[in-house]
């Protein structure tokens, strides 16, 4: 190999573009890190110098280059993303290796590895040279396959397992088309010089074809290639491809254990810019797939945030906060948190403190049962739970027998943190005063907020499914397995929200036959019932469509019972279940299968369980 030139004016568009993007990204990254709350910033820097950096590097390779998570979701789509990202990365790396091997003194010229084939001349054919020619062509081919698939996806997204893809805006289009152009132009340019600089199966072949173009015009290819690169860099900040550099930063944040807390903190910004607008979340969202209203799905909401579009204030509300999109997102963007940020921004400034609530002393007990607002609307669950609690022999009290103070989660979901805190404080007081060691609730909404927002050290918090599971395991209640076919629906706040999957299934397995459902709507991918409190924008009609669709999917095998572990799910599904599979709570099914022990005379298990109000 021998150097022909070391400079040509055509390198300018690329070099200027690259300088621009490096400066832009450095300032942006600096701002994002500066915007972190100071303790998070410390955490971030500390994590850079700990073993966690290795985990981050691994994650960055797996996600940014190989797109493992998209692969797991859909192999074709994963291959498409991987071939472009990984192929391009390898071409850049190999380009640098070549320079290091053949012209090490040129490593200081940023454009040299990119236009290596123009500047160098092949003097003799070597194995090593042929290897590089081959492998460079190989990765270029890989990219072409990826781009071909991407083109195909533009016109036929269903073939890639996507029903809907994102509608693109101008900046995205410019970036997309220049990105697609970069590689064909590179091929043309390299083919043109293949005779001088060497080439392999792609470049040589194409080289014969473009060989007819006269030498002077041939340099036009190199110009075009450089311009397309430069344009891509200039279009990058306004386009969705910002996700390429930002995702790496987001991974670093995640592995440092920092999460967004309010709008505009660095993590939120990084999350917004990490969205590749792949559109996977559109199909995951039932407001889109069932109610056919895709306009406020995560991808569009995130775009509104990024553009500072006031429409985000409204679309923040149009979400069940069910987490299906977060689960599906290949980047792992917590769009629920981003919506919550906006809700908190919107919340009224002076909020209630609930000073009207009386001081409550409910007495002493080992176990507290908190039914919650929702369960009080579903007496069937309440009575079943009371029966089970009585049978258990535990010394229990029904914490909200006469009146409930809401757990605070609905208020939190509306962004009114101070008001929610006030309720949380009141309930905490009551729980603490009772001296209880165990707190049981029938409502996943309450369960989640008890676990995440209350400080109840020393009190074990259980959802009733966990409690019943324990009772059965310890033989404290006796149940008979029936032949009922039961499908279990994971409530969002219990499954995805609190990661309780095993216990409810074990309970059902002990009392009936658990029927399986397609994995696309099971466990982590469970559907939302459509009754979620979190959405204050969707009309009742659209909600019903979501519910009907979910009910239909869940009961496709016509089970005898559709079981849930959430009063709201039960209520919601009951509204559409006429004549089909009955909707029951786990507690109800257990009570029906329970073999009651003969009562021991003279032994009263539970105290008078009504709350006593002082003040």
């Amino acid at each position: 190999m021998e150097e022909r030139f070391s400079f040509d004016p055509f390198v300018l568009p690329f070099t200027i573009g690259m300088m621009f993007i490096i400066i832009y990204l450095s300032i942006a990254a600096g701002k994002v890190i500066y915007d972190l709350p100071s303790e998070d910033r410390k955490k971030f820097f500390r994590s850079l110098f700990s073993w966690r950096i290795f985990v981050s590097i691994k994650d960055i390779i797996c996600e940014c280059l190989l797109h493992v998570r998209i692969f797991r979701r859909n192999r074709v789509l994963g291959f498409m993303h991987m071939s472009i990202a990984f192929g391009w990365f390898m071409i850049i790396v190999l380009g640098h290796i070549e320079v290091k091997l053949y012209a090490p003194h040129r490593l200081n010229l940023p454009y040299f590895p990119i236009f290596f084939r123009y500047f160098m001349k092949e003097t003799e054919q070597t194995m090593q040279g042929a290897f590089f020619f081959f492998i460079m062509d190989f990765f270029l081919l890989l990219i072409f396959i990826g781009i071909g698939m991407a083109l195909y996806k533009r016109f036929n997204s269903r073939a890639m397992g996507m029903r809907r893809t994102t509608r693109l805006k101008m900046a995205d289009r410019i970036a997309l088309y220049t990105l697609w152009l970069i590689f064909p132009l590179r091929l043309l340019a390299e083919s043109h010089t293949a005779e001088i600089a060497g080439g392999s199966f792609l470049t040589n072949t194409v080289g014969y074809l473009v060989g007819v173009v006269p030498e002077d015009y041939g340099r036009g290819f190199w110009w075009a290639y450089s311009i397309s690169l430069g344009m891509f860099f200039f279009a990058l900040p306004g386009s969705r491809y910002m996700h390429i550099p930002t995702e790496a930063l987001l991974i670093l944040f995640k592995n440092a254990g920092i999460r967004s807390r309010k709008k505009g903190d660095g993590v939120a910004t990084a999350a917004i810019y990490s969205c590749s607008r792949c559109g996977i979340c559109i199909d995951a969202c039932q407001i889109s797939s069932a109610a056919r209203k895709p306009k406020d799905t995560a991808v569009y909401f995130i775009r509104q945030l990024r553009e500072g579009d006031p429409a985000a204030l409204k679309s923040a509300e149009n979400c069940f906060m069910c987490g299906r999109c977060v689960q599906a997102c290949p980047v792992g963007i917590d769009s629920i948190r981003l919506r919550q940020n906006v809700r908190e921004l919107k919340a009224p400034k002076d909020q209630s403190d609930y000073s009207y609530l009386p001081a409550m002393d409910i007495g002493q007990a080992d176990v507290l049962y908190f039914s919650g607002c929702m369960t009080r609307n579903m007496p069937s669950i309440l009575y079943s739970m009371k029966k089970i609690l009585k049978e258990s022999g535990d010394n229990y009290l029904h914490m909200d027998a006469s009146s409930t103070i809401c757990c605070g989660r609905p208020m939190l979901l509306s962004g009114q943190i101070d008001a929610a805190r006030a309720m949380i404080m009141k309930n905490t007081e009551i729980i603490r005063l009772s001296g209880a060691r165990t707190l049981i609730t029938s409502c996943p909404i309450c369960y989640k907020v008890f676990c995440e927002q209350y400080s109840l050290q020393g009190v074990e918090i259980l959802h009733h499914s966990q409690y019943i599971d324990r009772l059965i395991k310890e033989g404290r209640i006796e149940v008979e397995k029936s032949s009922l076919n039961v499908v279990y629906h994971d409530p969002c706040d219990l499954g995805r929200g609190s990661k309780v999957y095993k216990e409810p299934r074990r309970v059902i397995d002990a009392v009936a036959t658990l029927t399986s459902i397609p994995s696309a709507i099971d466990k982590k991918k469970a559907l939302c019932c459509g009754g979620s409190l979190a959405n204050t924008a969707l009309s009742e009609g659209s909600r019903r469509t979501v519910t009907e669709d979910a009910y239909k999917q869940l009961t496709a095998s016509s089970p005898d019972v559709l079981a849930t572990a959430c009063p709201l799910c039960k209520k919601t599904f009951e509204g559409v279940s006429e004549g089909h599979s009955a909707v029951k709570d786990i507690a109800q099914i257990v009570v029906e299968a329970m073999v009651e022990k003969s009562p021991v005379p003279g032994k009263e298990n539970s105290k008078n369980s009504s709350a006593h109000i002082t003040a």
Partner: protein, 120 residues
């Protein structure tokens, strides 16, 4: 005056021509289902906050419609946004949404927050 053994109480009828219906109109715009209430009172019967005070969600709706908005805010602040009323309402009114929109409408001084861009 002759004592007939009964008296006339002061009229509690409202002159709706003079009532200030700004809030009622605003709420009707912001929450489409507002105004379809049939006044059954189920929401009030089940109201979580109503177990502690005289808080009455059905009355709140009526007061908005009547333009009696003076003490509305103090009243509304008793609501816990728990959503029980919505779960019970036979008319399928999005009551939680109504309450949270009302919260914001009554928040003084009310300014629409801006969602600014986070970078440049």
């Amino acid at each position: 005056m002759i004592d007939f053994g009964y008296g006339i109480t002061r009229s509690n009828r409202l002159n709706l021509d003079e009532a200030d219906l700004t809030l009622a109109r605003k709420m009707a715009r912001r929450e489409k289902s507002f105004g379809t209430c049939i006044g059954c009172g189920t929401c009030t019967a089940g109201c979580t906050a109503g177990h502690f005070t005289a808080y009455n969600p059905r009355k709140i709706q009526l007061m908005i419609l009547n333009g009696q908005t003076e003490n509305l805010k103090e009243d509304l602040e008793k609501c816990m946004l728990c959503g029980r009323c919505q779960m019970l309402c036979p008319r399928g009114i999005s009551l939680r949404s109504l309450w949270s929109k009302l919260y914001r409408a009554l928040d003084a001084p009310h300014k629409t927050p801006s969602v600014t861009r986070d970078i440049f």
